[in-house]
Symmetry: C2
């Protein structure tokens, strides 16, 4: 296969899905217009972002100081990217005009040497690259490049892309192994992925080389950042931290990294870029580095919801098996980044474990970041809240029990938006004579094999049931594989082709159907979807003696709204009876689960410490809802991990 | 009874106890000389404290800048106080000379108006009282006053006392309700208690009035501190905190305080002072305020070890039933202060519950602050540690798994020292014709009743067994009560007087023996001491489903040294069999407890999440040691609360 095919396969997918359509729709109709107002300082009850205003200042249209965070430009970029994806399935002239105008403004702000970035364009270009560690210039460049690529793919318009190519050429003149260039790498990764997307379009070797340089240079000792701090007398906020330069993934060269450490978003953006470069170079050592980071996260440092980053301090990974549900960070951006990483690992090596994690994230720890109405957002995605504690106890105050309208650092909402609006691109991958169905999302797609094309229609009630129908309309007959992901949660399934029990080959989490496909074919894949109780590895201290409830890929939780307060008092039996009901009226339509548990009774006047044997229990009907849909009603307690009796 | 009798009863007690003698001895021979070196900057591996040097500068003997914390003088005061108590039971000319020299130096530093305090004496007296909230001037004054009182009581020398009376008179001229005086109160309490101790000696109404003023003025709105911040442009570190001025117990007048909040040491020092004033004034509203704070702590905000303060942020109380064993603060100083509070509540109202808490603290959360060899100290007293997490995860890094040699803020070691060296003063209280035995600590005491005296000898193997013998030698016959504390843990006991089963009256946690005592009498009090499993109130979320093991007043724990790692995997049955052994060779001589539990087995390669029903258990012999003696061998895991199967 070549890179081009990927892009084409991706661009030809249209999502038509009962689960995802509403998510994409609220993102398009609520979040994207809301952010447009935020970028333009048009929200009366929100602190001005200064985003567009900064570009106007940098373009010389108005006179003012730079304002906002040093990475403020990236919000504009992410908005363009998300809005572009939405145009693909919902053309909108007004929105396209807004993007075009914004592109014009960005180009007006571009410096003669190609540089784009309002912070230094306003504050003095001579100060560029004096704080690569913390000033996010390459991060903003990376996001703008992603935006340019997306807009180009969707609309064919290449104005922003051309401007960004000029900017990249300038960056290439500044960074590299050659003498006289700066031997450094971004303080916040993302440009690595973006350069590889650019390279997919341009096929210009230098674009790929720059991505690879940033990856290969990273973490070399002595550390560039340490030097930079001394040279420019910059602040170093992690001086007393345990992770030191590992916060920036700069503590060791990427091939020597032992564990996923430091800032979780930065980390998974880096690993995603590494996987992109590894796919191009077929560099085993880099692939092994990716796999080591993957294993570190997936085997030891990931919440059951797919969320990552156990510590608010540094928004970072901590240590193996440290996964507190209440002290958690689990930033929405990190979940989004983890989907990028999983997707790229899948492109590197078509193994079901990568698709499993992508699915775990898409139905749990990503979309939990947005309210069902698209109007409020979580930065932090906890697995357990107790409002009084989250409000009053300092160590838990970063965990909000209600989604917020917006954030001073507004990275998460547009990040989630660009994921949601492009979710179609994660469903299929294609390799020569193989079409892989990674996700069960209702969709239509055009697939090209050799000179021929096939039209694919995927119909499903996923994730509420395990029934998947794939209708293939093939121009002409040829033997190739259709490979269906067999999710890790699935223990029993039936597979039919054209009504007949299918012959399949099972390997690495996929079911391969090989035959000559000609004309219309119908594949029916019925996975038995039952409620199951899941445990953590006992090394996860916070979850010992506890279970979580899952159904298919969906993690469930108990909310105070349905189950009363004091959820820590609830216990469920090891082999509980579960009753599943599809409730179209509830939370946008969800399958709820009922079970019987018991609850320790509280007595008002009882002492703080008492002799064992005092407990009284009451039988307790429990109602479980999908984790992603929590906090859409009244604020209250919520818990995923429940004690097992 | 009058106040004088208290002091006399206290000063006549000599401890001769198998448990406490070694603790007092290592404090005297290790901690006190070590701190003397620290005060004099004579420790090669410790940052200089500048304590004595600051006094030399303030006295004009050398020229230098002030150095150290703003409350550095208080270390000198606490050292004098602890050293003074030690002189009482172990005369030491060299030590007494060191104190005398220090007193001379302090007096040399005293300003013409009576002020003592090196920070402003060096930095400019005109700046005094411009940051009462944070600059600890009244705190240092309070500790120096406590030192002066102690030294006077033990040695009869009144030089420091007279100097402090001059200082107090100066303070009295600055603070008070009168116009022209500052209407404020200490940012860190302690002087309230100290003034009441001074008043016991001087009987000067103004000393009492000043203590009462500081208590009555506190927390009035508008808040003095808020005003002070504005007037002097001072920093306010708690601006974004939840507790705001409650950090300083300045959020509400003391009689309107609802809960124990804010900085835990400050809080219990205040409550202790309130209890002292309430005892003098017989002010019901103040007594009720004390009782409300007592209930808040003891019923809802105290660890099983007696430690208080669940949050490192602000070294503070948090919310009801929030008692995490691992995120804990539980500062040693706060435990010491809680003993002060309990003792004063006991003097206010002779109820066993106060003695119970005093005992809980003395055998658990106070002495855990010092190594058995007296050479290292805990600031924070956790109930659960996992070294890797405590080293690498930011939120848990304030919890040390090994005691430290010393601290930059060295408040805890000398605070514990002054408690330990004066532990005898907590054993007895006397009220007219009643002698109360609050604690079972081997000791001799002279008791005065009317014109007569009795010599009391208390012999016991407490806390390792519940046998107590009280020998009374009474000058002449008179009817009065001897009242023995019946600890809350005790379910069965036998009580004999002169070999005969005793007639007693039981009330409020005390057993009253009333008779005419003449000549020699022997009281035998045998409490049945068994191991018991204790639960938390189920509102304590962190302890739900868990038990702790206690024996008598002693809380036990599991250490990795005896039980291997992964202590979170351990479970014990509800009605476990326990085997108790006195081990003279271990940890200075302790009763250890053996029980059989089980442990979840860990398998190396198992996944992070797996379907329920995977657990395998192994039988596990458990060895429990007293909590206070943990961390005296190799660093490793430790846990108090263990899951119940």
């Amino acid at each position: 296969m070549n890179q081009k095919q990927f892009s084409e396969a991706v661009s030809s997918v249209t999502v038509r899905d009962t689960f995802w359509d509403p998510v994409m729709e609220v993102t398009r109709t609520q979040m994207i217009p809301y952010q447009w107002k935020a970028l333009n300082d048009e929200l009366p009850d929100i602190e001005p972002s200064h985003c567009i205003r900064n570009f106007k200042v940098a373009a010389g249209l108005i006179e003012a100081e730079f304002d906002g965070r040093v990475f403020q430009d990236s919000d504009v970029a992410k908005w363009i990217e998300a809005a572009s994806y939405s145009l693909k399935w919902h053309p909108d002239e007004t929105l396209e005009k807004e993007i075009d105008d914004t592109v014009e403004l960005i180009i007006q702000s571009q410096q003669p040497d190609g540089y784009i970035g309002t912070y230094y364009s306003i504050n003095g270009l001579e100060k560029r690259w004096t704080n690569i560690m913390r000033h996010h210039e390459l991060y903003c460049a990376g996001h703008m490049l992603e935006a340019a690529v997306a807009y180009y793919h969707v609309t064919g318009k290449d104005k922003l892309l051309q401007a960004m190519i000029r900017f990249v050429d300038y960056i290439d003149s500044v960074f590299g192994p050659e003498e006289g260039k700066i031997h450094a790498y971004p303080g916040h990764e993302v440009i690595e992925m973006a350069l590889m997307r650019l390279y997919e379009i341009t096929k210009e070797e230098k674009h790929f080389r720059l991505a690879r340089y940033f990856i290969d240079e990273r973490g070399k000792q002595p550390c560039y950042f340490e030097n930079e701090i001394e040279t420019y007398h910059n602040e170093y906020p992690w001086k007393d931290s345990f992770f030191q330069f590992h916060y920036y993934q700069a503590g060791a060269p990427v091939r020597e990294m032992k564990e996923a450490v430091g800032h979780a978003v930065r980390a998974v953006y880096l690993y995603s870029g590494m996987a992109d470069v590894a796919r191009e170079t077929l560099d085993d050592s880099l692939y092994e580095a990716c796999q080591a980071m993957w294993d570190s996260i997936v085997e030891r440092r990931m919440y059951i919801t797919g969320s990552i980053g156990a510590s608010a301090y540094g928004e970072a990974f901590t240590i193996d098996y440290d996964l507190p549900g209440d002290l958690v960070y689990g930033e929405t951006c990190a979940s989004v980044g983890m989907v990028f990483f999983a997707h790229r690992m899948l492109k590197l090596s078509q193994r079901g474990e990568y698709a499993d994690i992508m699915e775990r994230l898409l139905y749990n720890g990503t979309i939990s970041g947005m309210a069902l109405d698209g109007k409020s957002f979580f930065y932090v995605n906890p697995l357990e809240v107790y409002p009084k504690k989250n409000e009053e106890v300092q160590a838990f105050r970063h965990v909000k029990v209600e989604r917020q309208k917006w954030f001073a650092c507004a990275c998460c909402p547009p990040n989630l938006a660009r994921l949601v609006e492009s979710v179609g691109s994660y469903i299929y991958t294609q390799r020569e004579k193989q079409l892989f169905i990674n996700l069960f999302i209702g969709s239509e797609a055009e697939v090209f094999y050799g000179e021929n094309a096939a039209h694919i229609t995927l119909e499903t009630g996923y994730p509420w049931n395990g029934k998947v129908k794939l209708i293939m309309e093939c121009e002409s007959g040829q033997e190739w594989d259709v490979a269906l992901h067999l999710p890790d949660w699935c223990r029993e399934f039936e597979l039919y082709v054209d009504g007949e029990s299918a012959h399949y080959m099972q390997s690495e989490g996929y079911l391969y159907l090989r035959q000559c496909w000609r004309g219309r074919h119908e594949i029916s894949f019925n996975m038995k979807m039952e409620v199951r109780e899941v445990c953590s590895n006992p090394k996860v201290r916070d979850n010992i003696g506890k279970v979580a409830v899952m159904r298919g890929p969906v993690v469930y939780c108990l909310e105070e709204e349905d189950n009363g307060a004091d959820l820590h008092c609830v216990e469920i039996p090891s082999h509980a009876q579960f009753e599943e009901t599809y409730r179209p009226d509830l939370l946008g339509g969800v399958v709820t689960i009922k079970s019987i548990g018991r609850k320790v009774m509280l007595e008002e006047a009882s002492p703080l410490y008492l002799e064992d044997g005092w407990e009284r229990y009451e039988e307790k009907d429990l109602l479980w809802i999908p984790y992603y849909s929590w906090a859409n009603r009244k604020a209250g307690e919520m818990v995923v991990w429940v004690r097992k009796r």
